[in-house]
């Protein structure tokens, strides 16, 4: 529901005095009663259009607002809310001053438009009018009166905290896993390195959890193109920001973040990554759980974009006990899909049964997978098939699909070419796709939405990630564990262990 709020007043001071305070986008901390503190991100001045201020409100929450226009000639400011604890959507507001020429007074209007949920519209309209605007009028009056009173000491300036100064921008000692040449897990060894200060658009992170993804194994083997040895593997990590580059917006030292990066280098205590790759973590999601970000959003991407899965449909997940598999089965179950999955042992079957998989199927050598699938689906076949074994077993997959069924080939282990006969697909309108995750997340908003969904599901225990943690020094063992297919759930390196 769209809401317009207009509040205006007359301030008993000349316009130049009022404007001198209001024109500083960072001044609210000094005079607004509900703003406990204000600071500009990246230490920009308070009249830089595009600048972002971050309020700490007196109730402890945070608010980020961006300056959209600043006009000293017309005495106007426009800004919008970027992040708010309240459901104030598309909130933009204009502050306008006008001189009252027959008295030394100033007309001040504060006008905003925003959308709010219907059931909270009245409450939010009231809050914006009273606690933000009217309280602001009173606050500025008091502030100006205090300023004018000569006996009182001057109001102290907000201390500009230099954020990057915390670590002094120095090189920091760290440990990193280095694969000297392409080869087996044993080519990786831990060595001492130093990590330079972050570039202008980077952040430096002290990592607490590093995801081991299947693509890391490919990098180490030298299969993936474009990586020179020696290399530090790893595309994904979680940790606390140490310091940020000059042009970084919205991230601060001390923030907990998860990131996914096309550039390897995650297997380390400390590393620099592009700020764009970072996603801030909500409370209630542990560092280890957050290290399933790539696997979790892959699961979400498969269900929502690749399959566009509908409740009641059937899905078969190969390697359902693996990193992606066990998250995918829980996510699918939360969408009311009927979940089947293949596992290699009875122990894994028990493991996945607790994680959303209705029908674990233990596959031994040349088993009767197709027969089992047909029995479970009453001969109809399965709607979606997540295929992880490349060319091997693809015939079975296609044979098990229902009419208009869809098989997505992911995590291809051997990168062999896979011949597909269109005639076979055409017989029953089948789809075979080969989604590569990074192609789907160039749209950053989409990634953030998926990440938000994942973290919400982890917070409310709809999804419980299973984590096998190894110390950073045991990257070799971690890779061996995955290559021997013994892992259940996600494998994580933990520098703190």
């Amino acid at each position: 529901m769209k809401i317009t709020v207009l509040q205006s007043t007359i301030i008993d001071a000349p316009i130049d005095r009022v404007w001198a305070v209001l024109r500083d986008f960072n001044s609210h901390g000094q005079w607004h009663p509900t703003v406990a503190g204000s600071r500009m991100e990246n230490d920009v001045a308070g009249d830089v259009v595009g600048g972002v201020r971050r309020f700490s409100l007196s109730d402890g929450s945070d608010l980020r607002e961006q300056l959209l226009s600043h006009n000293d000639r017309e005495y106007t400011l426009t800004y919008c809310i970027l992040d708010s604890p309240l459901p104030l959507y598309d909130y933009t507001t204009t502050i306008r001053l006008k001189p009252v020429t027959d008295a030394d007074q100033t007309f001040w209007s504060w006008r905003s438009q925003f959308r709010a949920p219907h059931d909270r519209a009245a409450e939010l309209e009231n809050l914006v009018s009273r606690q933000v605007y009217e309280a602001g009028f009173r606050g500025l009056r008091t502030f100006l009166a205090d300023q004018a009173a000569p006996a009182r000491p001057p109001v102290p300036e907000m201390e500009a905290t230099s954020l990057a100064a915390a670590a002094g921008g120095e090189h920091l000692p760290s440990r990193a896993v280095v694969a000297a040449t392409a080869g087996g897990p044993e080519v990786m060894a831990l060595s001492d390195v130093t990590v330079p200060a972050p570039g202008p658009e980077q952040v430096r992170i002290r990592q607490t959890a590093i995801a081991v993804n299947y693509i890391d194994l490919k990098h180490r083997r030298g299969i993936a193109a474009g990586f020179d040895f020696p290399v530090t593997p790893g595309m994904e990590g979680v940790g606390e920001i140490i310091d940020v580059g000059q042009r970084v917006n919205g991230l601060f030292p001390g923030d907990r973040v998860a990131y996914m990066n096309r550039e390897p280098g995650a297997y380390a205590d400390i590393r620099c990554v592009d700020a764009d790759a970072c996603i801030p973590l909500p409370a209630g999601v542990s560092d280890h759980d957050a290290a399933t970000l790539l696997k979790g959003v892959t699961a979400a991407m498969l269900l929502s974009r690749v399959f566009r899965a509908a409740p009641g449909a059937t899905i078969l997940i190969q390697s359902v006990a693996g990193g992606v598999g066990h998250l995918l089965s829980q996510w699918a179950k939360s969408m009311d899909l009927i979940v089947m999955g293949t596992v290699s042992t009875a122990e894994k079957a028990r493991f996945v049964r607790d994680r959303g998989c209705d029908h674990p199927i233990v596959v031994a050598e040349d088993s009767r997978l197709a027969a089992d699938v047909m029995r479970i689906t009453n001969g109809r076949g399965v709607d979606y098939w997540v295929h992880t074994s490349g060319a091997r077993g693809l015939d079975t997959a296609l044979a098990c699909l229902s009419r208009c069924g869809h098989c997505a080939v992911i995590g291809d282990r051997d990168e062999q070419s896979i011949p597909i006969d269109l005639k076979v697909l055409k017989q029953r309108s089948l789809t075979v796709s080969a989604p590569v995750f990074f192609d789907y997340i160039d749209d950053r908003t989409y990634l953030q939405r998926l990440a938000h969904q994942l973290f919400t599901k982890i917070q409310n225990r709809t999804i419980i990630p299973a984590i096998e943690a190894f110390p950073l020094s045991q990257a070799t063992e971690a890779h061996q564990r995955i290559e021997s297919r013994r892992n259940m759930g996600a494998v994580v390196l933990s520098p703190g262990l």
Binding site: L6, Q7, S8, T9, I10, K98, P99, V100, T101, D102, A103, Q105, F107, S109, E134, F137
Partner: protein
């Protein structure tokens, strides 16, 4: 170009004041310097493009054209077509803004025009103080 700007605070809600000000033919009701006003060709007073023809206290006649009228943001703009003053391209704006705190309104009245440089000071005085400020002072009195 010469610009004149005057403003004040009126002790009545914007809606109440606007009821009086939106009448383009109502100037004589509240402005002390204006004695008689009519709209030419019997047009309604809120028809954009209509011309008001009014007489000043000193007998001079002025013709002004209504250029815009907005009930939405309480704005009226007009231009002088003929008048006794030695100015051209005269263009005036009258606007109200609600002052929600205290249920009052803020009124601004501005004008811009061209004139010979040596007459700028005198005309600024005549328009700014004579016409506009006298009008605002009368409104201020009218609404207490």
């Amino acid at each position: 170009m010469v610009k004149v700007y005057q403003s004040t605070v009126l002790n009545a809600p914007a809606d109440r004041v606007w009821r009086d000000l939106r009448d383009f033919n109502g100037l004589a009701n509240w402005h002390p310097l204006i004695v008689l006003s009519r709209i030419e060709k019997d047009h309604p007073a809120d028809k954009v493009g209509c011309v008001r023809n009014f007489q000043l206290k000193d007998g001079a006649r002025v013709r002004e054209k209504l250029l815009s009228l907005s009930d939405f943001d309480y704005t009226c703009t007009s231009a002088i077509l003929d008048g006794p003053m030695d100015l051209s391209d005269h263009f005036a704006t009258l606007r109200l803004f609600p002052v929600t705190e205290g249920n009052r309104c803020f009124i601004e009245w501005s004008a811009e025009f061209e004139c010979p440089p040596e007459k700028a000071a005198a005309l600024t005085e005549a328009v700014g103080e004579g016409m506009i400020q006298t009008g605002l002072a009368a409104l201020k009195k009218r609404y207490g």
